[in-house]
């Protein structure tokens, strides 16, 4: 089954009098349950593509299908619903709500979904255990390290059982150990829950864990290849 299909996506930005091609006729298809890296230098278009997939930004032309939804044709409310129920986001900066504790940050999405308090709490605690922060539930983001904050952000992204997680430079602000821990957590969730991960990164540590690596430059896809030799997995595990 196809999780995401992008067809002839184009997006331009203007910077003063200069026109920048964010996406240049991008076509891509990502299967459900896959683990994909979008890599490339800054300005290559990977974040723009990720934002378009998540309905955070609209392409100038082309089609985006996420599951069975035409993202490029959805209105604001429908996009919000899709993001709330089907997509989890992990951003470069940790982007937790600073006045809510780790558990409350995870509960927040579920509250918007209208789940009852008891269920919210139970699921948030389960997620904290899964990301190894069960004993940090009452800490505010400012009382957590960068790696811990990012793990809370991951827990928040997947607590509502999305089919797709879009991560934009999730390890950019992390030290090596935290970055490896995070990417291994991603892989674990991908394997165990079948969640599709699309990660925009130029971190080679992350790329090494991606069975499928798509390279971008100047808004275009310049290569799309399958990798083998993923750390901690036999070669056959590569997709």
């Amino acid at each position: 089954m196809t999780a995401i299909r992008c067809t002839h996506l184009n997006k331009t930005f203007t910077q003063g009098e200069q026109v920048i091609r964010g996406l240049d006729d991008v076509c891509i298809e990502i299967e459900e349950g896959s683990f994909v890296c979008l890599s490339g230098p800054s300005g290559s278009g990977k974040t723009t593509l990720l934002n378009a997939m998540g309905g955070l930004d609209q392409p100038d032309s082309g089609e985006i299908l996420v599951g069975e939804s035409r993202v490029d044709q959805l209105g604001k409310s429908a996009l919000a619903d899709m993001r709330l129920h089907s997509i989890g986001f992990v951003f470069q900066a940790f982007n937790l709500i600073p006045v809510l504790t780790a558990r409350e940050n995870i509960e927040f999405v579920m509250q918007i979904q209208g789940l009852p308090a008891a269920e919210r709490k139970a699921r948030a605690m389960a997620m904290l255990r899964e990301v190894g922060l069960a004993d940090h539930e009452d800490r505010l983001p400012s009382q957590l390290s960068g790696g811990q904050q990012q793990r809370v952000a991951v827990a928040r992204a997947i607590v509502s059982n999305p089919t797709l997680v879009l991560a934009d430079e999730p390890t950019a602000n992390l030290d090596s150990a935290s970055a490896i821990q995070l990417i291994e957590l991603f892989r674990k969730l991908n394997r165990e829950r079948g969640i599709t991960f699309v990660i925009a990164t130029h971190d080679t540590r992350v790329m090494a864990y991606c069975p499928r690596l798509i390279r971008m430059e100047d808004g275009r896809i310049i290569s799309d290849e399958l990798q083998s030799g993923i750390p901690g997995e036999p070669p056959a595990a590569a997709q």
């Binding site: 955070l56 604001k76 986001f89 709500i97 809510l100 409350e104 927040f108």
Partner: protein
């Protein structure tokens, strides 16, 4: 959790929030006090004006207010006044006659208004009997005695024991003439009144002016303005004659309400300025709060929060802040005003000046539900209204651009 989030968001910048809440508390407390004081001073103003002569209610012939002719009378006035005293339980009810006459002493003559009053009851409806500074007030209902204003006494060059001759028209258009001995001189401090008014006993008045047992008005004085409307209805139901009516102070002294309304208008303009200032303070706080959280709101939008939900969050934060201002402001303003309502206060020289008019010289702020909540509720609404703009801005939020915000 939304409430918790809103509450915690408020205290991210505790000093700024306290400054805004403090402004609201001050404004609300001030409004509670000012409005209560205004109502108190209006009560004093109304009481002061009506206590002199008018009273809170008057029973008159239906035509008398617009056309005060001698023949437009209330029959059997003293009896009716007694009946009303008995029926309503209000003691301050007195019958009164009124005529214009030429008052003459040996040397001079002046046009005056002569009131025929019931000496036993008039002191309860009017402050004038208490303002007799020389001699005494009237005592005998039928005696040929007169009390005159101090300016009139000076103009006529008369004193206690002197006689005044007065000439006028009787109810039946007959020639009315009388001679009365001055027993008292009133100094009300109101020059116009002291120059033009004299009082004689009602019995004597009725004889001189051919009134039989008729009067021109039955005056009722009350302690509380709130009693006026129900008593008016009660009295109207008890009026035996179709040609009589009962008028309240607003109908008897329309200028008084107009003066109060004019004062209220200017006060409300000042209050409006105060409320607008507070609203701008809320606008500033919430706009700053929204702007500095643009990135956070962008992330929340990316997580699936709708712009409307973000707007509601901002409005909830404002509501909590405004409610805090309302509760604390009402509490502080209410307690202070309630205390002042008990002990009253006076201004420099006011007590002495008012005593000269035989009136209470202290202002007692009147704390009521309206004065306690009226102003603060408008401040609350003003605050909420001020938060609409920052909240509306969130509807136009673009997640990607918002997340790029520093």
């Amino acid at each position: 959790m939304t409430e918790r989030l809103a509450w915690r968001n408020l205290w991210r910048h505790g000093r700024r929030t306290w400054l805004t809440v403090g402004g609201m508390v001050f404004c609300n407390a001030l409004l509670v006090f000012m409005i209560s004081m205004q109502l108190g001073s209006y009560a004093l103003m109304i009481d002061g004006t009506l206590s002199v002569l008018t009273g809170h209610l008057q029973v008159q012939d239906k035509r008398y207010r617009d056309e005060p002719r001698m023949r437009y009378t209330v029959a059997d006035g003293a009896t009716l006044a007694q009946q009303l005293r008995d029926d309503t339980g209000v003691a301050a009810i007195a019958a009164r006659g009124s005529a214009f006459a030429l008052a003459s002493s040996e040397d001079r003559s002046f046009g005056i208004q002569i009131l025929g009053v019931q000496p036993a009851f008039e002191p309860q409806v009017s402050t004038l009997p208490g303002l007799v500074t020389r001699g005494r007030y009237l005592q005998d209902n039928d005696a040929a005695e007169i009390v005159v204003g101090s300016v009139l006494a000076r103009n006529l060059k008369i004193g206690i024991g002197d006689e005044i001759t007065f000439l006028g028209s009787g109810r039946d258009d007959s020639f009315a003439a009388g001679v009365a001995t001055v027993v008292g001189i009133v100094d009300s401090g109101m020059t116009e009144l002291d120059r033009s008014v004299a009082e004689i006993p009602l019995g004597y008045f009725q004889v001189i002016f051919a009134m039989d047992t008729d009067v021109h008005a039955i005056v009722v004085k009350l302690d509380d303005l709130a009693e006026v409307a129900p008593l008016k209805t009660t009295i109207r139901q008890r009026l035996p004659q179709a040609n009589t009516t009962v008028l309240d102070w607003d109908q008897l002294q329309p200028g008084l309400r107009q003066a109060i309304q004019a004062d209220m208008f200017s006060a409300f303009v000042m209050y409006a300025v105060l409320i607008v200032l507070v609203a701008f303070s809320v606008l500033n706080t919430q706009l700053m709060s929204v702007l500095e959280r643009t990135r956070e709101f962008g992330v929340m939008t990316a997580l699936g929060v709708r712009p409307g939900q973000l707007a509601r969050l901002v409005l909830l934060e404002t509501a909590i802040m405004s409610l805090l201002g309302l509760v604390l402001g009402c509490l502080l303003g209410g307690l202070f005003t309630a205390w002042l309502g008990q002990v009253g206060f006076t201004l420099e020289g006011m007590e002495e000046a008012m005593e000269r008019y035989n009136l209470e010289g202290r202002i007692y702020p009147q704390l009521s539900l309206i004065s306690l909540l009226g102003g603060p509720l408008v401040v609350f609404l003003g605050g909420m209204l001020a938060a609409v703009y920052p909240a509306l801005r969130l509807h136009a939020l673009q997640p990607v651009e918002a997340m790029r915000a520093v």
